[in-house]
């Protein structure tokens, strides 16, 4: 038997280049490459795993089934970087194999030893199926639960079957028949199951892409389009135009390349809203009274996408007021409590006919309501010509 060369000393390189693993296991294979893949996942030497498969295949028979099953299971998957080979893990395989062999020997002599079967099977299958066990302690807990449940179910099944017959030989036949049946169904359904999973993945990716596109559109509308409008309105003032263009370039750069975006994410809701108010105040030369009651904990984790969407929607409402209300003063009031974020943006300006805002005026529909709606929030605009405007934005926490 040949020990896979470099299985332990190239471990670091493996971690950095996961693509290499697939090639390696393809090169280092005798039949379907299952043993080498399994050895990488278990942290046992490939030789030990091969011997175990061979012995179990010859003596028990299910070694062959397990080999083929694993070949199907692992087919086309990216291999995680192999675990380092350790003596204890090798020993573990040896002991498990030996136990299985002993059990087979005693199978017809002493019934209770048969109970080891399901235990070994379930443990083996689950350890192989779940390559991230070491990484995530919560998954380890759920695995313990699954092992216990699986073992209990299998023992219960065996006992039920036993209760119906005195003849161990017929039980054995029934067991094999059941196994073959389940295996057959599995093989028939496998391609379909795989397709269902792939389709679900594609749908999710599409949805995420669509949401990202909406976010980008909203952002561009917020910043670039607003500034362009501003520049057009003040085209007669070259200095101001240049300043606006410069400022917008800096902002867009920051947003595109994420150079300096982090501070926004680590501040509290109050600080973020106050900053937005100050920004708009500078840009549109209006007075914005910003009152915030309550706040989020500033634990360094920053605001989630929901609160950030509220801030974005509030910004949109404030900018709208600054641009269209034709009044020097805008009131912003926000309340943060255990259940919700609530923001009011109010002006005593000219107001407008809500019904007259067509769908293509991106500002009202998408940038205020659309932003918070996506996170389960709501926005209500109360206005009429001559009576000012108040936008109420609410998002449950």
């Amino acid at each position: 038997m040949v020990v896979r060369p470099g299985n332990c000393d190239t471990d670091v390189a493996m971690t950095e280049q996961p693509a290499m693993n697939v090639r390696l296991s393809r090169q280092d294979r005798l039949a379907l490459g299952v043993a080498s893949r399994v050895s990488g996942r278990l942290g046992a030497s490939v030789a030990v795993v091969r011997v175990a498969f061979a012995l179990l295949g010859l003596a028990v028979g299910w070694g062959v089934v397990a080999y083929l099953g694993l070949a199907a299971l692992l087919h086309g998957r990216n291999e995680p970087s192999p675990r380092p080979v350790t003596l204890t893990r090798n020993l573990g395989i040896v002991v498990l194999t030996a136990a299985q062999l002993l059990v087979v020997e005693d199978l017809f002599a002493a019934f209770p030893a048969m109970l080891l079967w399901p235990v070994g099977l379930v443990l083996f299958a689950i350890v192989l199926a779940d390559p991230d066990l070491d990484a995530d302690p919560t998954r380890r807990q759920s695995m313990v639960g699954r092992v216990v449940a699986g073992v209990v179910l299998m023992i219960a099944g065996l006992l039920t079957a036993l209760a119906g017959t005195d003849d161990l030989a017929s039980l054995w036949r029934a067991g094999v028949a059941a196994f073959v049946l389940v295996g057959g169904i599995g093989l028939v359904l496998a391609p379909w199951l795989r397709r269902v999973l792939t389709v679900a993945d594609t749908d999710r990716a599409d949805r995420i892409r669509a949401e990202e596109r909406a976010d980008i559109a909203a952002h561009l509308h917020d910043s670039v389009l607003q500034t362009l409008t501003l520049i057009q309105n003040r085209a007669g003032d070259p200095q101001l135009t240049a300043a606006l263009a410069h400022q917008q370039e800096r902002e867009l750069r920051r947003w595109l390349y994420g150079a300096d975006d982090q501070p926004d994410r680590t501040v509290s809701f109050r600080a973020a809203l106050e900053r937005v108010a100050a920004d708009v105040e500078d840009q549109y030369l209006k007075i914005i009274e910003c009152i915030v009651v309550g706040d989020t904990a500033n634990d360094g984790e920053g605001l989630g996408p929901g609160p950030l969407a509220v801030i974005g929607a509030a910004r949109e409402a404030i900018v709208n007021a600054a641009k269209f209300a034709d009044i020097p003063m805008i009131s912003v009031y926000a309340e943060v409590d255990e259940d919700s974020f609530l923001v009011f943006v109010r002006d005593r300006g000219v107001g407008f006919e809500l019904a007259s805002v067509s769908d293509d005026r991106h500002g009202v529909s998408d940038s205020i309501l659309g932003r918070v709606e996506r996170f389960g929030g709501d926005a209500i605009i109360k206005t009429s010509p001559g009576n000012g405007t108040e936008v109420r934005i609410e998002l449950p926490r």
Partner: protein, 227 residues
Amino acid sequence: MSDQLETIRVLVVDDHALFRQGVIAGLGETKGSAHVVIVGEADDVASGIAAIQQHDPDVVLLDVHLTSGSGGEIIEAVSLTNPNVRFLALSVSDAPEDVFGVVRAGARGYVTKRIDSPELIESIAAVAQGHAVFSPRLAGFVLDAFKSVAAVVPPENDEADAELDRLSPREREVMQFLARGYAYKEIAAELHISARTVESHASAVLRKLHLSSRHELAHWAAKRRIV
């Protein structure tokens, strides 16, 4: 026309001479709902006390933060000699401990220096009549303070005390509208009650601010800055 308007005698205490001149000029030019006459000005605690005792004005426009101390000291100093003087706090400082200090010392209201002249005249007139004047900022502070107080007041607290430590639902509503930038008249229209009733809710809140003895409320402002 101006003869029929009530004349309100006002004293301005602020350590920024430029700002005092700005306010006085603004009040002089503006025709508002009341006729405001400036009877004097002062720039620190001592001269402020002296000027109040000399002129006994109707309303004192008081900066919360003077170089020699706080506006609250002036209010306390003249509370016995000139009990009828009413104070309107006026400040650029949005630090809640400054604002709360002056309001709890007895001011009838608080407005920021960004206020425009017609609105300032209206506020002065309201204070002169003994009404409460809440800027959105002060209403926000009140909501914040009573919210955190309510969280620490145990329910078995005896009735009379507890009453002072929390806002009634209606008072809360009025404070919220004020924080949103609504005037009394606008709130009255929204709630379908009279402007007088709105004002009485606001005055009730102001009384709670003055009287509530809760340790938590008194120190809320100081804590607020740390948080």
